[in-house]
């Protein structure tokens, strides 16, 4: 059953990779081709000429490099804050966080845009990175709050008696014990920011600050005979997410570097 599920999820990736190997200038295949006609890797070299991919990838990497650590920092601090609150306030804050989770993104488009315009940040990468300031998603905050709740109160009390403040306890006691959560949220936040299409579409107007998902969307305008290029672009964009997932999964299951051991 698990294998069947894995095959179902992997199939689109397989179609994508096979499609990218098909020779250019041919009409698209009418079904799944196991051996693409005139198979070659030429599409992978050709995509660099079609659009400024180096720029798009650099911008995407910049966003991920800042937004993911920022999301972890803010998410874990906010989760820790919830952990430390008295029971009644805690309920109120958790409820509020849930409400924030339910607000559709479309409801805050225009106001966010106005805010970023006021600080002169429209058409820069700042609005994309700034998502990290709200932990990217209230969901990450809730996951951290839940994880911190499972910590042994005795250890925390002992640390407090020894003079550790809330920040010291967060860094030295709480964070080392929730490493699996940090790892999971790293994977989730990376996947979100790396594949984020809507925010760049709305906030960016200069091609020199475009990110890779916008570039990939532009490739959809290519003729059907050039779809190997689109598939090559899609494959190239998917590889980092797949790698992050596979590394994350390996660490979860086997922990070869002992990253997840509680200390």
């Amino acid at each position: 059953m698990v294998a069947l599920g894995a095959v179902l999820f992997a199939l689109p990736m397989v179609v994508m990779v096979l499609g990218s190997l098909r020779g250019r200038g041919l009409p698209p295949p009418r079904g799944l081709e196991l051996l693409p006609a005139e198979a070659s890797l030429s599409a992978y070299s050709a995509i660099w000429g079609a659009l400024p991919w180096a720029t798009y990838l650099r911008n995407s990497l910049l966003v991920v490099a800042f937004a993911v650590p920022l999301s972890l920092l803010v998410g874990s601090l906010a989760g820790w804050g919830i952990r430390l609150l008295p029971a009644r306030q805690k309920r109120a804050v958790v409820t509020l966080t849930f409400v924030a989770l339910l607000v559709p993104v479309t409801a805050v488009w225009a106001t966010r845009f106005e805010l970023f315009r006021l600080v002169g940040a429209v058409d820069t990468l700042v609005p994309l990175i700034a998502l990290g300031l709200v932990a990217t998603s209230p969901f990450y905050v809730l996951v951290y709050a839940w994880a911190f709740h499972r910590l042994d109160p005795g250890v925390l009390d002992a640390a407090a008696v020894d003079g550790a403040g809330p920040l010291r306890s967060w860094w030295s006691i709480a964070m080392p014990q929730v490493r699996p959560v940090t790892l999971a949220i790293t994977v989730l936040a990376f996947t979100f920011h790396w594949g984020n299409f809507l925010d760049p579409l709305l906030y960016l107007s200069s091609p020199d600050v475009y990110t890779a998902p916008l570039g990939l969307r532009l490739m959809q305008q290519l003729a059907p005979t050039d779809w190997p290029l689109l598939m090559a672009g899609a494959t190239a964009l998917a590889v980092p997410s797949v790698l992050v997932f596979l590394v994350g999964q390996r660490v979860f299951l086997h922990d070869p570097l002992h990253l997840l051991e509680r200390r």
Binding site: R30, E114, Q221
Partner: protein
């Protein structure tokens, strides 16, 4: 404590953001920057970048930034957000079926006064149908038409020859379309490929002397169920449901019409000029364009597919934006853009020039586009039109592919359209 830390991070980030904004303060001598938002793929973007470069060379006090998006929907999303957020582009390029909402909102600077005062451009330089399509109130030009693409029939000359059918270069009738399509259907090939949408059906209705709506200036309902329009609706659906010359549902899902035509599996393919650059990559057979077939006793007519440059009002750079349009619509600008093969120029002199009509690059009969430019008709200019199409096309396609009954589809289309027209 935990509340203060994120607040501190936020302040630093906002400070950084403010600094980056301060750096953008305009220097009085620096060139003024204009942004042109448009829909385009990699090849078109390259064409527009080349035009922007030539524009900057000719206008040292201005720079033109091309801001491309991939789809009309993306353009509308970005434009609406940017306008609501107070930071719109100075110019955008949009299809005539989508610009109405921006006129209604008062977002646009009308181009008519600029055109009237221009030394570089004259209204009589352009073919009439796209001008008419962009006169929202019927008299004042809202946006400057850039191109005048129209619906044509792309034909596979090898399939016509194999079926022993003469290619209808001088026009043909509905019956001749059915005969030709039937002769080319079989052995895995199909005679005709067309999307089932209001903009594909409309020219059939008009050719038969019917109308798509009750009042083209102030429509309140669709009229597809009446008289000649109903005959055209039935003829269009019969192509699929009775004659079986159109690929059926499962075939359409597995391969789109354009890919099927490129592969050599489609005799006739209805689309606008948009397909020409792609079809030029065909090496396996010869192809050409012919006009749409004419209804019995009817008129030759086709569907307009035109985009125009619109100037956003209130930016303070409206006059500069008009200079961009003057350049883009001048001979140099039009020549650069025409190189992609995607554009049918709206300037009469360029449209009728040997450069555009050059028979060495297929299609051999490019004059079909030039002739069509004179007889094309537009859909009604009302703000709700884009939504009406979205709503109606779904039902029309379902009927065309045999998923629902044609009477049900008509009722559904009538209801949806009436609601949307009523909402304005």
């Amino acid at each position: 404590m935990t509340i203060r830390i994120p607040a501190a991070v936020l302040s630093v980030a906002l400070l950084l953001a403010a600094c980056s904004g301060a750096g953008a303060t305009r220097d009085a001598d620096a060139p003024r920057e204009l942004t042109l938002l448009l829909v385009g793929g990699p090849e078109e973007i390259a064409g527009y970048e080349a035009m922007a470069g030539a524009f900057a060379d000719a206008n040292p006090d201005l720079t033109l930034r091309i801001s491309p998006v991939a789809k009309q929907d993306d353009l509308l999303a970005r434009l609406a957000t940017a306008i609501a957020g107070g930071s719109p582009p100075e110019l955008f390029l949009i299809n005539f079926r989508k610009y109405g909402q921006f006129v209604e909102q008062g977002t646009l600077e009308q181009v008519q006064p600029y055109l009237d005062a221009s030394d570089a451009l004259d209204e009589s330089d352009f073919v009439e149908p796209p001008l008419e399509a962009f006169r929202y109130d019927g008299s004042t030009l809202s946006c400057q038409p850039q191109n005048v693409s129209t619906l044509v029939a792309y034909v596979n000359l090898d399939m016509f020859a194999a079926a022993g059918i003469a290619v209808p270069h001088d026009g043909w009738s509905w019956d001749e379309l059915v005969t030709a399509a039937q002769a080319m259907t079989g052995d895995g090939g199909y005679g005709l490929g067309t999307d089932a949408s209001l903009i594909r059906l409309a020219p059939f209705v008009w050719s038969n002397g019917g109308e798509v709506v009750d009042d083209t200036d102030a429509p309140t309902r669709l009229t597809l169920s009446e008289g000649p329009a109903r005959e055209a609706y039935d003829f269009f659906l019969d192509l699929s449901l009775v004659h079986g010359v159109v690929p059926p549902d499962a075939q359409v899902q597995s391969e789109d019409h354009e890919s099927r035509f490129i592969r050599g599996g489609l005799g006739i393919y209805l689309n606008s000029r948009k397909s020409t650059p792609t079809l030029r990559t065909i090496t396996g057979f010869d192809w050409d364009v012919v006009p749409l077939p004419v209804a019995p006793g009817g008129q030759p007519v086709t569907m307009l597919h035109s985009d125009a440059y619109c100037i956003v009002g209130g930016t303070g750079l409206e006059a500069d934006a008009w200079r961009v349009i003057e350049f883009a619509m001048g001979e140099q600008g039009q020549t650069i853009l025409a190189e992609s093969g995607r554009t049918v120029p709206s300037r009469i002199d360029v449209l009728d020039s040997p450069g555009f009509l050059d028979p060495s690059a297929p299609p051999a009969h490019s004059e079909v586009f030039a002739d069509n430019a004179r007889i094309a008709r537009a859909t009604p200019h009302v703000a709700a039109w884009a939504q009406v199409e979205d709503a109606v096309d779904d039902a029309l396609e379902s009927a065309f592919l045999g998923r629902i009954d044609r009477e049900d589809a008509l009722r559904r289309m009538d209801e949806l359209a009436a609601q949307l027209f009523a909402q304005g």
